[in-house]
Amino acid sequence: MPAFSLVRFTAKGLSRRPIRTTLTIIGLAALILTYVSVQSLVSTLEMNVSGSVSSLGGEIDVWSKGTSFPLFSRVPMSYANTVQSIPGVNLAAPVALAQMTVDNNQAVIAGVVPSELPRMLTYTMVAGTMISSNQSGILAIGKALAATVGKTSGQTLLLDGYNYSIAGVYQTNAWIDYSLIIPHSVAQQLIGWVNQTSMIVVTTQDPRNVDTIIGQIRTLLPTTDAFRTSEAPSKISPIFASLEAIATDITIIVSLSAVLGIMNSNLNNLRERMRTFAIFKATGASSSQIIRLVLYESLLIGILATLLGLGISYVVLNLVSVPVAETINVAIILVPSTFIYATILAISVSLAAAIYPALRIARVRPQEVFRFG
């Protein structure tokens, strides 16, 4: 029997049981929403926390040994020169990070060497210009923070009690949009550091040499910890490192619950339709055709639930934001791969929940159903 006929037949059958079909679709869509929400939340946190470091550019970060957060790291400025001298290193830029009061808000400020900025950070200017000299009293502000404090280029704001002029408003679509950039030397003065910086951001001439260069930094500077920028989130917090594992556990538990719930619903549904399947068998349907009927039915439900679930997830997650720091909320980042995995998950759950009921209903004995109901 052509699969298309069977699918169309199945679709008609589903449309004639609208309440059950709708409830199953909603249940499965809820699973997708849960999955997409949890995964997107993890991705958002990961990208933003990672972004606090990686959005400053570079492939390698150098922090002081044993530090769990870049704000607490402190390394001598001279280390930047040491790293710069390693063959294959393109740029070793010191970055000073500190949390300060910006007008009445708390925000992380980044002190960078202005001449190194274009090689470190990819940004666009929304208004005004980026800082280009070590001149004190000027800064560039991220678009999100500018919106929070209600300021734009040409205006002034209070940074740690001092008046600063806003040279421009930049946008990176990363965490640093909730921050502001000042010259590194000015940041040192504000923090009270002499010849010290928070971290060193390193770019290489050939990304294939990253591991070799990391090894050399660790040898040359034993009091520091050098690692790939992408490893920053797991270094920042042991809890963060296990966040993905927790998300996976939640997904497994919710998926198993969904499989069992939908399987139970399928069994009840098929039990109620036992006579229908007995008639199918008596009129010549083979066991494999009946199995295919049930599986196509689940596949269709899975596809419809996926469309609904992804649609709801997209709308809902675009409306919410999560706090990543005090007074700083960021929009949920929707990663396309999460949507692809959600689709695979929903259809897998739908089919897995149908296999056992399909095998059971395929064994229906028409003579018994017709005799005993």
Binding site: M1, F9, T283, R365
Partner: protein, 227 residues
């Protein structure tokens, strides 16, 4: 093998349960069914008529004995071959119609042809033609429950002959019908089933059908008492 015999059984028995609860529904039944003829199987309730029909139609397996359809042993066939046989060579009409109420009348008649894999247009044309012949034209989109008992049984007859089967098995087809509808149905059976060249086996209590049948067997306690 007699070419005129479409189906025969040898020592066919069917028992349900075990030990003291064992019930013998059919006991050592041997018969031959002539091609393109109508065989009436009658007898009191519980005599084994329905069991015999289910065995002949491959819906159930005998406890012992053999069934041959067109000289091929049916009783040892795999489930896959049996379903093909039910699809292509057998048609069933049941006392309580056994139409699928979640499908329309037209879809019910198309069902067997769909399982056979016939193209959409072909099965629709055939189903519409059959429904016209059984007098259900214009009610194709209705659900079976929206039809009268007589109409539902006529739809069941149309479904049974849709794939042009060689053998149509009818279990008390007039059991739920009044006399007028019963007569109408039997005329239809004569016209459609035999008219399509099929052999017909009817299990019935209806003595009018029995008296008009060219061949008949009487079952009592699972045994053939007379033929």
């Amino acid at each position: 093998m007699d070419d005129n015999v479409i189906l025969r059984t040898e020592g066919l028995s069917k028992a349900y349960g075990n030990g003291p609860k064992k019930t013998i529904a059919l006991d050592n039944v041997s018969l031959q069914i002539a091609r393109r003829k109508l065989l009436a199987v009658h007898g009191p309730s519980g005599s084994g008529k329905t069991t015999l029909l289910f065995l002949l139609g491959g819906l159930d397996k005998p406890t012992s004995g053999r069934i041959y359809f067109e000289g091929i042993e049916v009783s040892i066939m795999s489930e896959r071959r049996l379903s093909k046989l039910r699809r292509n060579s057998f048609g069933f009409v049941f006392q309580n119609y056994n139409l699928v109420d979640e499908l329309t009348v037209l879809e019910n008649v198309m069902l067997t042809m769909m399982f056979e894999g016939k193209p959409d247009a072909e099965r629709k044309d055939r189903a519409e033609e059959l429904l016209r012949r059984v007098g259900i034209a214009g009610k194709e989109r209705r659900r079976p429950s929206q039809l009268s008992a007589g109409e539902q049984q006529r739809v069941a007859v149309a479904r049974a002959v849709a794939n042009r089967p060689e053998l149509v098995l009818m279990d008390e087809p007039t059991g739920n019908l009044d006399q007028e509808n019963s007569q109408q149905l039997m005329r239809l059976v004569a016209d459609m089933v035999q008219g399509e060249g099929a052999t017909c086996v009817i299990a019935t209590h209806n003595l009018d059908i029995v008296s008009e049948a060219p061949s008949k067997i009487f079952l009592k306690s699972g045994r053939i008492v007379s033929d």
